[in-house]
Symmetry: C2
Subunit: 207 residues, 2 copies
DNA sequence: TTGCAAATTGACGTTTCGTCACTTTTGTGA
DNA sequence: TCACAAAAGTGACGAAACGTCAATTTGCAA
């Protein structure tokens, strides 16, 4: 699943190749980062994976760094509607939390499996949190939590810290889950949901 | 506080300058990463911050990346005894958790005293958590949790997931705390400890 | 003091970077 | 359909950073 959330008008050949070139660069970059690792990869390596000339790269991105951000942003953009659906379909706060974590864990499993034949430990999901779409995801999480607090579905906690805690948990427990085989999404989601709702007692093994 | 955990024998001028040079490079690198950001920094920028010649750098590190890893490893090495003391001095599991988080938050506040770019830009995009000392910290956390479980001080939870959750929470809430001013270490530690022990209810504001 | 190994040095060839003058492509309106 | 302007693509080029290595300096021990 390496399609991007390409929103809108395919008309006009200009626009069309522009989108296609940008996409080609991102796809090539993803492959190169997976193969060589982010640090070792060069802009030249990336464009070599496309049909474009080196100068063209700079019409689309300022640097390797910006390409990486675009990839991260892209991931966040694809995840956001999933998260929103989890929110809208939930019939309780506990249900929202659980389905949000299930959605996230499912997402990273998908995102990593087609990623690499070389099973890359080189890509733990510690991504920059300051791209626009990443910030939007944080805001979305935080807003959900504030709503729940306002509606009395959750206690009056520091929503910023709680959102950060949820994200930190999701990232770290998500990575741990990916290291296990098979990937037990539900077990991980049960664990974190229980932990958040009831603390250690809530996280205790059900068995 | 940028001293490193330099363990052992200072004897011999050879050994001494070797340690000093390595240290000089690390200190310069820390300053350069803070000032220019990790991505923008070059190996030359780093050695310019020392009295050494460019070639000498490569006697100590293969690359900028390796310098960063050494810094991270160094931080973990300095933090480990602090964590251990928190463990040994604690008179309950709750106390251990709380003092461990206080110790960590205190540590990162100290560690980010340098002025310059925002914290996120001082780091590489892909953070490796698998340096020896980092792993040791994880093991230490996990071991503490397993001991607590074995002694009946904590419920029977998945220690791996719980350790990851603690680390993820510490990192994200810690970063959030650093963004606030003033840095309220105790408030943050109370929040995360309450959250872990009792869930949302435990994290609720005390006011 | 002398001799050798270890460490430092900076100049050098190599690789990558980012730019820019030039070419090709696309859209538009006569 | 054609002409023409704006947009996008191209690759060669100078600048910058890389990593190496022969020459030199430094430290240690005989």
């Amino acid at each position: 699943m390496s399609e991007t959330a390409a929103n809108v008008e395919p008309v006009g050949k200009r626009e069309k190749t522009k989108v296609a070139n940008r996409q080609a660069i991102l796809i090539a970059a993803r492959a190169v980062f997976a193969e060589l690792g982010y640090e070792a990869a060069t802009v030249r390596d990336i464009i070599r994976g496309t049909e474009l000339a080196s100068g063209t790269f700079y019409n689309y991105f300022k640097s390797k760094e910006e390409v990486f951000d675009a990839l991260a942003d892209d991931g966040a953009r694809r995840f956001r509607p999933i998260l929103r659906m989890a929110r809208e379909n939930a019939n309780s706060f506990a249900d929202y939390l659980h389905s949000a974590f299930v959605a996230y864990f499912h997402f990273i499993v998908q995102d990593n499996q087609l990623e690499g034949k070389p099973i890359e430990e080189r890509r733990p999901h510690i991504l920059r949190m300051d791209t626009p779409e990443m910030t939007a995801v944080y805001q979305e999480v935080r807003q959900s939590l504030e709503d729940a607090i306002a509606h009395g579905d959750a206690p009056h906690v520091d929503a910023d810290y709680l959102a950060c805690a949820c994200i930190g948990i999701a990232q770290e427990v998500g990575s741990a889950m990916l290291r296990r085989s098979p990937h037990d999404i539900d077990a991980a989601a049960d664990f974190v949901t229980g932990l958040l709702l009831k603390g250690l007692l809530g996280a205790a093994r059900k068995s």
